[in-house]
Symmetry: C2
Subunit: 242 residues, 2 copies
């Protein structure tokens, strides 16, 4: 791949609280216009938006008594096709999308008491909609990634990964590319959307609540078609640990 | 945590080929001095250096006939304390450091024919040495991360993660922090070194061979003590999938 020499990661500010039925793309456009300084959206930018505001805008909120463990488990199971592991109140499940994560990706933080935020039904579609709306409203050709926070099997600490995308190739295939010594590269399908999403989290933060960030300067070769669910989710047949 | 409003990710250019016994920190310092433009190293920068050049400089190269599968498997096993899965020529093992990754992290690309690059013996120590040497040679106070490329259990494509660090807190603990609604955050230990390392890979690339990158603009609260092996590697007792 042709690499960028320099990238910028820019927090998007001023979105405010999001409610069910809000036009999220319109609200984002107001934070990304020509008067937004560094956050003024440009052709070739990648806009990363957290799942939480997408889920809220799409009305993916359900009532949940946070102290009711049985209700919580029932909700997690209803969002899952399989439970892989249970330890105490922690369930590792496969969601209806195919994501394997804690508690089916259901979010109890940064939502009102008595509610929980489910994952978007089709996060790739959510990304496509935001992308198309921003093209219409701001006249810019950008990629959009929906992010969520996942744990990792063998490493402490969470990181943000992509759960949906539009306008970007999620996994770059470098197989057949020669390395600097002329050897054909081996493990060379790079999940660029996850690296971009983790980068964006560095300016979004978990506590301060900036729900979007721009990654600017990605090479044009990274832009194109693809879907996180189709291209990033590993099929059960390829999975050595399911 | 106090979040950055904007980060820059800058490729480090001009390092050239690295050989066993080279003074890598001195070679890096030549690419990071005051005449290096955007890559002139500044206080508060995070310098990410790929495992491959660290392993080469530390002489962690062994002879290996790349076509000899039995020799390859024997080498992988010699660098591992446990084999978790085998599928064809792919082994998922636990390395002597505790990393769980493909083929014990042994690298066959970007090395000469007939050789393989093993992981550094103590990548945290490698990072500490580079950090101390850069402080002496350039007079800057920076953090250093050693990166490597790992696959993920349930997601296609590799990403770069940290295998060693110095001068940065690998996993930020936000437990007890309140979110924007005043609720105590739940899954809130963030592996910031992995997010930084993935971000750096976006400008390093697998094929073009830029072996280092700078991440500039991280909040001062992220700098401090810690080690990837101590703080990021999950203990077997906490592991639901070993």
């Amino acid at each position: 791949m042709s690499d960028a020499a320099m990238l910028s990661i820019i927090a998007v500010r001023g979105l405010g609280e999001v409610h069910p039925g809000d036009d999220l793309a319109a609200d984002l456009a107001r934070c990304l216009g020509s008067d937004a300084g560094d956050a003024a959206l440009q052709d070739g930018d990648v806009l990363v938006v957290t799942q939480k505001v997408v889920s809220k805008a799409e009305g993916r909120l359900v009532e949940l008594d946070h102290a009711d463990e049985a209700a919580k488990v029932a909700l997690i199971e209803s969002e899952s096709v399989r439970v892989l592991r249970r330890r105490g109140s922690l369930l590792i499940t496969e969601t209806t999308h195919g994501f394997i994560c804690a508690n089916a990706g259901i979010d109890l933080s940064n939502v009102d008491d008595g509610t929980a935020a489910l994952l978007p039904i089709d996060p790739d579609r959510s990304a496509r909609r935001i992308r198309a709306d921003l093209r219409r409203s701001l006249g810019v050709e950008v990629a959009v990634i929906i992010s969520d926070t996942f744990g990792r099997v063998w490493r402490q600490g969470v990181t943000d990964v992509a759960i949906g995308s539009a306008g970007i190739v999620p996994v770059l295939d470098l197989r057949g590319t020669e390395d600097a010594n002329g050897r054909i590269l081996e493990a060379t399908t790079v999940c660029v959307v996850d690296e971009i999403t983790g980068a964006a989290d560095l300016v979004m933060g978990k506590a301060t609540g900036h729900p979007a960030a721009i990654v600017r300067g990605c090479p044009t070769a990274w832009f194109g078609e693809g879907s996180v669910v189709s291209d990033v989710v590993r099929s059960a047949g390829d999975d050595l640990f399911r």
